[in-house]
């Protein structure tokens, strides 16, 4: 058995567009998803994440490349012969069937005997805490309950991989939070590989073991939540995951894994360089707002001067908007950890913003 539950190898998907042109939804995507992993495909709408998921499910076929499930090439295998099940964004419960019939559908298709079906349906409904709902129709259930039925209907078949297409998209915030934890609990319980499509970065960070950030049909970065947040490999990823500051400048000096970057207005700072850069190259430096400080601090080497333009106090933190001498604006997030935290500056006041070399990352693309 192969070590990957699902592997996408140089997968492309092209669609005919409405005007006869070719739309490339997925561009040369290669992904390796481990067995038992909770994997998220994260990106804005139209980034190709849903198309990728639909290709794994078999609803779409790749224009190029190959998809493997546990090492077996899927080729043109139709959805009903793939060892995966899908939870749809709209749940797609069969409205003319009861909850029990909905959950039993997959087992009936497999020809499982009646007694076994009854037992497993009851078991699956218990797992999603909907025991006793067998006789009801989907319409009589709330959105959250329908969602759980959709989960039970997929999981009852014990698929090798469960695919979830924005399954929490239609729920309100409170229910979403609940379901996020519920999904995680379920995934641990059943030990099945979950591949999860979402546009909500917080959701992806909360639930997944690893995340692939997609944009424009390309998988930009794959890694753990921590990896992607702390070590974004491009501007899009840094911007999409959490909040960040971008400072545009030119490389002035290179030193092994760090470089001095000159910003407009004569300000310069040192930043970590994960990729090789050369002197004179135009680059972007990203620094997370919580890694910048207005508070005096001796250890941080980088110091840039600016003026406070606005202050937003939200209790746990205070956000300061600062315009630098060169005209670039940044946001600084100071945590109010002291017993009696006060504002560190007033609007219009000149401040010195500090941050470490490691907090600043040079992005070349």
């Amino acid at each position: 058995m192969a070590e990957y539950a699902v592997e996408l190898r140089n997968v492309w998907k092209r669609f005919p567009g409405p005007g006869g042109e070719v739309v490339t939804a997925v561009k040369n995507v290669s992904l390796q998803i481990y067995d038992g992993e909770f994997f998220a495909l994260l990106g804005p709408s139209g980034c190709g994440k849903t198309t990728s998921l639909r290709m794994i499910a078999g609803f779409e076929l790749p224009s190029e490349g190959e998809i493997f499930i546990h090492g077996r090439p899927m080729g043109k295998t139709p959805p009903y012969q793939r060892p995966v099940n899908t939870v749809f964004q709209s749940y797609a419960l069969f409205p003319h069937m009861t909850i029990g019939e909905n959950v039993a559908f997959g087992l009936q298709m497999k020809g499982v005997d009646k007694k076994e079906i009854t037992r497993r349906v009851a078991e699956a409904l218990e797992m999603v805490r909907l025991s006793g709902y067998e006789k009801r129709k989907p319409k009589q259930l709330s959105g959250g309950q329908q969602q759980r039925v959709a989960l039970a209907r997929a999981l009852v078949n014990r698929p090798e991989v469960l695919l979830l297409d924005e399954p929490l998209g239609a729920l309100d915030l409170k229910l979403r939070k609940e379901m996020q934890l519920e999904l995680k609990r379920l995934q641990r319980e059943v030990g099945i590989t979950f591949i999860f499509v979402t546009h909500d970065q917080e959701e992806a960070l909360t639930m997944s073991d690893r995340i692939a950030v997609m944009e424009g049909g390309v998988a930009l970065q794959v890694g753990t939540a921590n990896d992607i947040y702390e070590h974004p490999n491009c501007r899009f990823v840094a911007d999409f995951i959490g909040e960040t500051n971008f400072l545009d400048g030119k490389v002035a000096e290179v030193d092994t894994d760090k470089a001095r970057i000159e910003l407009p207005g004569g300000v310069s700072l040192w930043a970590h360089t994960p990729q090789r850069v050369v002197v004179g190259q135009a680059v972007t430096v990203t620094v997370r707002p919580e890694k910048m400080h207005i508070r005096p601090n001796a250890t941080d080497i980088n110091q840039v001067t600016g003026y406070v333009t606005d202050i937003v106090y939200i209790g746990t933190d205070t956000h300061y908007g600062v315009v630098l001498i060169g005209g670039q604006t940044i946001r600084v997030r100071e945590q109010n950890y002291a017993a009696d935290s006060r504002l560190l500056a007033r609007e219009g006041e000149e401040v010195c913003v500090r941050f470490s070399i490691e907090a600043a990352r040079v992005l070349t693309e």
Binding site: A57, G58, F59, P78, P79, Y80, V84, N85, T86, F88, S90, A92, L93, F94, P95, H96, F105, G106, M109, K110, R153, A154, N157
Partner: protein
């Protein structure tokens, strides 16, 4: 609504509308029990023979030509309904599901016969059949007894043709807003294309398909113009037969026939309503 005083004029107009709609039918039914042979004066309820007040109904059932016409009409209606419902539903599914070259044109072309005057369709079909039959008959040099002629077959084919657009229209209305994900879900759960259609698609569009079938059935049942052009010897339908009678003498037998007809249609409509309610 309740606060607004209803205008007496509105009530009056409504009553008049319903009166004009239903009075002729009621008169027709009443006259089917007429003691007189004519449909001019009501001379009291007939009470003749073993059937009593239903004398004309019994006469009707003894009338060979009426029974033949009824049989023809039902054969045509059933056959054309089944075939046009299948083809019409398939067309609706194809138009709903696929984008193909010339989709707009083929869709418009499909609905065009609905607005085309029936007389034009009738003449067109007649000309078409005579031309094709003439050509086949000469080409194969068929003997007079083997020749292709107008008859039950041509009527059925033309009824199928004019019913398809109506079925497609009704089924498409039902398909509008159909969640394609439901079919994907079925396939995802292990159902192949055919099982998916049987277990998910068809049950969900069944009310539309049934409504389309009912429409096709009633259209075929009372079609006169196209049938008139395409019928042949031995393929007389009820509308054609009734039209023939009108030129001679109208007896209450005809009223009895119409009364039964109205009842049948009523039952069909009630059944289809019941089916749609159940969804």
């Amino acid at each position: 609504m309740s606060a607004k005083k209803q205008s007496p004029w509105l009530t009056l107009v409504s009553i008049l509308v319903y009166f004009f709609l239903y009075a002729p039918i009621i008169v027709l039914i009443v006259f089917s029990f007429n003691a007189s042979r004519t449909n001019v004066v009501f001379e009291g309820v007939v009470n003749q023979g073993p059937c009593g007040p239903f004398y004309w109904y019994c006469e009707l059932f003894r009338n060979r030509s009426v029974m033949d016409a009824t049989r023809n009409t039902l054969i045509i209606a059933f056959t054309s309904t089944v075939v046009s419902t299948i083809i019409g539903t398939m067309a609706a599914l194809a138009l709903q599901r696929y984008d193909f070259f010339g989709k707009k044109v083929s869709e418009t072309a499909l609905y065009f016969p609905i607005v085309t005057p029936e007389i034009v369709m009738g003449i067109g079909i007649l000309v078409f059949f005579s031309a094709v039959f003439g050509w086949i008959n000469t080409a194969l040099a068929l003997a007079p007894s083997q020749r292709l002629t107008m008859g039950l077959g041509t009527v059925i084919v033309s009824h199928i043709a004019f019913s398809i657009p109506f079925v497609t229209l009704v089924v498409r209305a039902r398909l509008h807003g159909f969640d394609d994900r439901l079919e994907e879900a079925a396939m995802d759960l292990g159902a192949n294309e055919f099982t998916t259609f049987r277990k998910v698609t068809l049950p969900l569009i069944a009310p539309g398909v049934l409504a389309g079938a009912m429409l096709a059935f009633t259209l075929s049942l009372d079609d006169f113009i196209i049938t008139f052009f395409t019928t042949g010897p031995g393929a007389t339908t009820l509308p054609i037969y009734v039209y023939g009678l009108l030129r001679r003498i109208v007896t209450p037998e005809l009223n009895a026939l119409s009364t039964i007809w109205v009842l049948v249609v009523l039952i069909v409509v009630a059944i289809s309503q019941w089916f749609q309610r159940r969804e």
